[in-house]
């Protein structure tokens, strides 16, 4: 997380610099062609070109160390950030020197560099950069003032020889330097506060994750215990219900069958709860290459008898180019099977279900379309939540676990994929799963 944040900010700086290079070139063009000031244009074009060059080199280097995920990345990135900002300050000073020195109002663009430094660097480093900028500035102004370095006047823009006006020079330098330090002070104060906030949010998030894990472990233990007992109860009921201890009279049979049905439902629910809790708690799941096409065919074979019994037509469109994908085959198969079982369950007789698998290059899109009861518009948001069941689903099946779709979501997200649904109540639903191949 921290690693990515740092990389992101350095890349942000590199992107900003491209904008700056473009801005400088356009400004120089405007000055040359429209304002028609006479300035040494060769260095004024050369400097942005050099900035572009070193920006490109930084871009390559950052990509290189970013890919390797070097262990000392943080230190390296910090050195690079400091070095880049120092180079930027030097380039800006050079640009200013060739375009009027202290007379050039663009000197206040140093503030932007100070703000960037305050965001990227520590407070101490930012003040050091401000000091470096001050030194560069004083050096430039001083050398021009004492005529050691040539002065390029912004003729037509300011009165002649403003740069050797002592009061102007000292006054502007004072305002300029204090502005730099104040900018660093303010920007770094804001930045520090933001970083603190970010840190406490991250800590709060970690704490929540930990609490969620404890909750899951608790659920796992409790469900485990319950399952043991309920399973024993069911094992005892079955032989009695099947008359292995002698024929039951109709009243006895009826009650024992009711009991058996209820324990079965409870077992089904507990299994679903155990599955989802287990996948939540597992750190990594075993990923292997497998044929998604064959997996889909398995699931179709599984639901076809049920569909046929209800007079539902099952259509299948699989693109042959998909090939192998990497993932936990058993989980994926269960997920697709669950979605198809739902479709059969919630599609009225003589309806239609279509399962399609499409090759999307790096990923595969699996789509299950049915002409079922659909999902009420105001409930679509919730159907992937644990234990949530839509109103019209409850009418068809009173005691579903409400865990099937949340399990599907867990599985798909563990594969870095995405699952979503489009649905219209009374017309049908389309469930889509996008899975990366690798």
């Amino acid at each position: 997380m921290k690693y990515e944040g740092l990389l992101e900010r350095i890349n942000w700086l590199i992107r900003l610099r491209w904008i700056a290079v473009t801005g400088v070139i356009i400004t120089v063009l405007v000055v040359q062609k429209i304002a028609r000031l006479s300035l040494p244009f060769f260095p004024l074009y050369l400097i942005p070109a050099l900035i572009g060059l070193y920006n490109f080199l930084f871009f390559l280097y950052v990509r290189h160390i970013g890919k390797k995920q070097a262990p000392d990345f943080e230190t390296k990135a910090n050195i690079i950030a400091n070095f880049q900002i120092a180079l930027d300050l030097f380039s800006l000073t050079a640009l200013i020197h060739f375009s009027g020195g202290i007379e050039n109002p663009f000197i206040f663009y140093f503030i932007f560099h100070m703000i960037i430094a305050s965001i990227l660097l520590s407070r101490k480093e930012s003040f050091l950069q401000a000091t470096f900028a001050t030194c560069l500035f004083i050096l430039m102004v001083g050398l021009e003032y004492f005529n050691i370095l040539g002065h390029y006047c912004l003729k037509g823009f300011v009165v002649n020889d403003l740069y050797i006006n002592k009061i102007y020079m000292l006054g502007t330098s004072f305002v300029f330097i204090t502005t730099l330090y104040l900018a660093v002070y303010m920007a770094s104060s804001i930045s520090i506060r933001l970083k603190d906030r970010e840190k406490s949010l991250r800590e709060a998030n970690l704490l929540l994750e930990e609490k969620d894990r404890i909750k899951s472990e608790y659920v796992l233990r409790v469900t485990h215990d319950i399952k043991e007992h309920i399973s024993a109860i069911q094992s005892c009921i079955e032989p009695v219900a099947e008359g292995m201890l002698g024929e039951l009279n109709p009243r006895q049979k009826d009650l024992i069958h009711r009991a058996g049905k209820r324990t079965n439902k409870l077992i089904f629910f507990i299994k679903a709860l155990l599955d989802i809790t287990r996948i939540k708690l597992s750190k990594d799941i075993d990923m292997k290459e497998f044929s998604i096409v064959r997996t889909i065919e398995n699931t179709i074979a599984l639901i076809e008898p049920r569909a046929k019994a209800k007079g539902i037509f099952v259509d299948c469109r699989i693109e042959s180019t998909i090939g192998l994908i990497k993932g936990a085959q058993v989980y994926i198969e269960e997920t697709i099977a669950n979605l198809l079982i739902n479709s059969v369950k919630y599609t009225p007789a003589s309806g239609k279900i279509e399962i399609a698998a499409m090759d999307r290059g790096d990923s595969v899109l699996i789509r299950i379309t049915d002409t079922g009861i659909g999902i009420p518009r105001d409930e679509i948001m919730n159907i992937f939540d644990e234990f949530y069941r839509a109103r019209n689903a409850k009418e068809i099946e009173k005691d579903g676990s409400g865990l099937g779709l949340s399990m599907a979501k867990q599985v798909v997200e563990r594969h870095h994929g995405r699952i979503w649904v489009d649905s219209e109540e009374g017309k049908g639903s389309v469930f889509s799963i996008m899975l990366p191949k690798k």
């Binding site: 024993a232 109860i233 069911q234 094992s235 079955e238």
Partner: protein, 129 residues
């Protein structure tokens, strides 16, 4: 009619199995721990062993199975493993079930028991012998 040994630490499940098996006139012996089970295997020479996975001691059930299969006297007795597979071992079990070096049992049934399924598997294993 066969002599069947049940090794399971849950007395209620043992009773349920006893009812199911006795309905086919099998003679049922039971043991409630791995150690007791191993003793009875030697002593009673059953024709079939129903072995619970007994997970509170992790793969104790598998250890018992391995020991039975490593003993010249008992290695030919078929073992039917009783397990709540999906729940306890996770999905990997299914994939490796065919690998006999890894899993020294002949077949398995899932709990809760379905009497007909249990009886079918029992008959099949008794025939192998």
């Amino acid at each position: 009619m066969a002599r069947i040994l049940i090794i399971d630490d849950d007395p209620d499940v043992v009773e349920a199995m006893r009812v199911i098996l006795e309905s086919k006139n099998h003679k049922v012996i039971s043991a409630k721990s791995g150690t007791e089970g191993l003793k009875k295997v030697k002593l009673e020479k059953p024709e079939l062993i129903l072995l619970d996975v007994m997970m509170e001691t992790m793969d104790k059930g598998f250890d018992v199975a391995r020991e039975i299969k490593n003993d010249e006297d008992t290695k030919n007795i078929p073992i039917l493993m009783l397990t709540a597979i999906k729940d306890k071992i996770g999905l990997d079990f299914r994939k490796e079930a065919g690998d006999e070096t890894w899993l020294p049992v002949n077949d398995y049934v899932e709990k809760p028991l379905k009497p007909q399924e249990l009886l079918e598997k029992v008959e099949r294993l008794l025939k192998i012998k």
